[in-house]
């Protein structure tokens, strides 16, 4: 019982295929173009300080005082600020995050894991201003009252806020890294009579080393790039931090604070663009670091 013959795959379908392929390729190429544009424009504006204003990079990177009015915009104080607050965040938030990652991948009973997944998603979703606001209304008064800080703003408050902000990143990447360790490794260790903690510490963590490194690197990237939440609680004074309680500034907070008032074409504005370009370079360096970590066999 044969019916009418159905025509074979028409030329129309093949035309659609070619068009689709071209359009999709163009979309991918657009990603490259976008990145190239970002790098080029930031490099162009970021180098004005050196080429138009003739400020030496050594001054920019090495001088401790930020004095753009007198043509001496030393960004070192902000670099130190960024590093300090990032180190704090990763030292506190890193182990915390990895611990939760271990918990989720090894210990968590089904119900609790199901509860924690949306919890982490919400923590990721909370806008940075809201974290800053919480730091302002909750943490700063606390620091003021209990740590003897005058204003409550400073490295400690900013560091704590940042630690919490990088937690979701570190947690989910650590969890993924630990989950991807082959089950046979864990089973082999347990079969030899190791306790759960011994298995985790001596077998799983080393096996997941590259994934955990990526988790920490991306946590660092998140910390160093955060602007607003830090700006709301760090005190914003362009001096080197003398201790955990003293106010300071970072590269990102300085940009946020002074970009609005910087006059177009001024040394100040150019210095801020150079700081932005520096942050871009740091970000790309971290990506290279991530790729290197992933390439190492674990």
């Amino acid at each position: 019982m044969k019916g009418p013959v159905i025509a074979s795959a028409s030329t129309r379908a093949h035309l659609q295929e070619s068009v689709a392929r071209t359009v999709l390729l163009a979309a991918s190429a657009l990603v490259i173009v976008a990145m190239a544009a970002v790098v080029l424009y930031l490099a162009s504006e970021g180098s004005r300080l050196f080429f138009s204003d003739h400020i030496s990079p050594l001054t920019f990177l090495g001088r401790l005082t930020f004095d753009p009015e007198n043509r001496a915009p030393g960004a070192l104080v902000f670099i130190v600020g960024s590093l300090s607050v990032t180190i704090f965040a990763i030292v506190v938030g890193g182990p915390f995050g990895v611990a939760v990652g271990i918990f989720l991948s090894q210990l968590a009973p089904q119900r609790l894991a199901a509860l924690m997944k949306p919890t982490i998603e919400i923590l990721v979703g909370i806008p940075s201003v809201v974290y800053g606001w919480l730091g302002l209304t909750l943490l700063a008064p606390f620091t003021r009252a209990h740590f003897g800080s005058q204003t409550g703003f400073g490295l400690l408050t900013a560091g704590i806020v940042l630690s919490i902000m990088i937690l979701p990143t570190v947690i989910s990447l650590s969890e993924d890294a630990l989950r991807s360790v082959h089950a046979s490794l864990k089973e082999g260790s347990m079969a030899l009579g190791a306790t759960r903690w011994q298995t985790i510490f001596h077998v799983l963590l080393p096996a997941a080393r590259s994934g955990l490194t990526v988790a920490l690197i991306l946590g660092i990237a998140r910390a160093i790039g955060e602007a607003l939440a830090v700006q709301m609680v760090i005190g914003n004074s362009a001096v080197l931090p003398k201790g955990l309680l003293s106010p300071t500034s970072t590269l990102t907070t300085e940009i946020v604070t002074d970009m609005g008032s910087a006059q177009a074409g001024s040394v100040m504005q150019h210095a801020l663009f150079s700081m932005a370009f520096l942050l871009l370079l740091i970000a790309m360096l971290l990506i290279v670091g991530v790729r290197a970590a992933l390439r190492r066999p674990s």
Binding site: L25, M35, P118, V129, L134, T195, W197, Q198, I224, A227
Partner: protein, 303 residues
């Protein structure tokens, strides 16, 4: 067995054994503690923000325009702008990111081009949002002479969110089993026909969940918007401006601005209210993402 048994005395073996047990117990307590504190932390934040801001929320607060110097201003236009910029950002992000994601997942062969695209996507994802905001300042505000516009903000946010949506697309496509694709190809379909008619519809649940979650993050984005979409609403004209070229302060930017430069006496109150509204929106997006995800995957199996 005998070597181990002989080398240590019975007592020291017992000690070693109990040391191992103690270490295991300690570790278990620490890990459980870490996990529970995360949940408690969130609960505490949510509770505190509600406590701070609940009193401020009123219909007036949610719809009235902000006031320049006196107390009693609202956040109506800011909420409008947040949604407006969200919508505009999606208009640009979804086609480009899904297009690139589909290409990478279904068509691309390993090679220089593919590696470059992936590297660029990873880099875009790591760029701090304030730096991207400055890029937007350079190109959209200054170079193109647009000054502060919703469009400039949306384009900047597009750049920031391309990688995330690409990843959502790729993971969604990967979740469709190979045998589905083979079934379609074996019937004489082209690759694009297979993607359009079988693969994408099959992946609709994870795609939707991912897109809604990203939308939630866009809603709260601040640093990239301060210097691209601006810190004020259109002065003079109606604050609810539908043109993409109007200055569009979003709710999150407003929160920051009120805090840092606010001249109004009730800045703290407005801040509390804004923070709470932002939190509620994040929760709403999260719930919506899950609900839609579950609804769509059920529809696939029992229509």
């Amino acid at each position: 067995m005998t070597a181990i048994a002989d080398s240590k005395s019975f007592a020291s073996r017992r000690l070693l054994e109990s040391q191992r047990r103690v270490a295991d117990l300690l570790a278990t307590i620490v890990l459980w503690g870490a996990a529970c504190s995360i949940v408690l932390l969130l609960a505490f934040f949510v509770g505190y923000l509600f406590y701070l801001g609940a009193g401020t929320i009123s219909w007036h607060f949610l719809t009235a325009p902000p006031s320049e110097i006196s107390a009693g201003g609202g956040i109506g236009p800011q909420i409008f702008n947040s949604f407006y910029i969200l919508f505009l950002t999606m208009v640009f992000t979804v086609p480009v990111a899904m297009g690139a994601g589909i290409y990478l997942q279904e068509y691309a062969r390993p090679g220089a081009f593919t590696t470059t695209v992936q590297f660029c996507a990873e880099s875009l994802a790591t760029i701090p949002s304030i730096v991207m905001g400055l890029f937007g300042l350079i190109v959209f505000v200054t170079l193109l002479h647009w000054h502060f516009t919703a469009l400039g903000g949306a384009l900047t946010l597009t750049l920031l969110n391309l990688p995330a949506l690409m990843r959502v697309t790729q993971e969604g496509l990967a979740s469709v089993p190979l045998i589905m694709r083979e079934g379609s190809m074996a019937l004489g379909a082209t690759k694009w026909q297979t993607i359009r008619r079988v693969v994408l519809p099959s992946a609709i649940a994870p795609l939707t969940t991912g897109i809604v979650l990203i939308a939630g993050r866009i809603f709260g984005e601040t640093a990239a918007l301060i210097y691209t979409a601006g810190v004020s609403v259109s002065a003079g004209r109606s604050a609810y401006d539908w043109s993409p070229f109007h200055t569009a302060e979003t709710l999150s930017v407003h929160l920051w601005y009120t805090h840092s430069e606010g001249l109004v006496p009730d800045a703290a109150r407005i801040g509390n209210g804004s923070a709470l509204v932002l939190l509620v929106m994040v929760l709403a997006f999260n719930v919506l993402a899950r609900v839609l995800g579950r609804l769509l995957s059920h529809r696939l199996t029992s229509k």
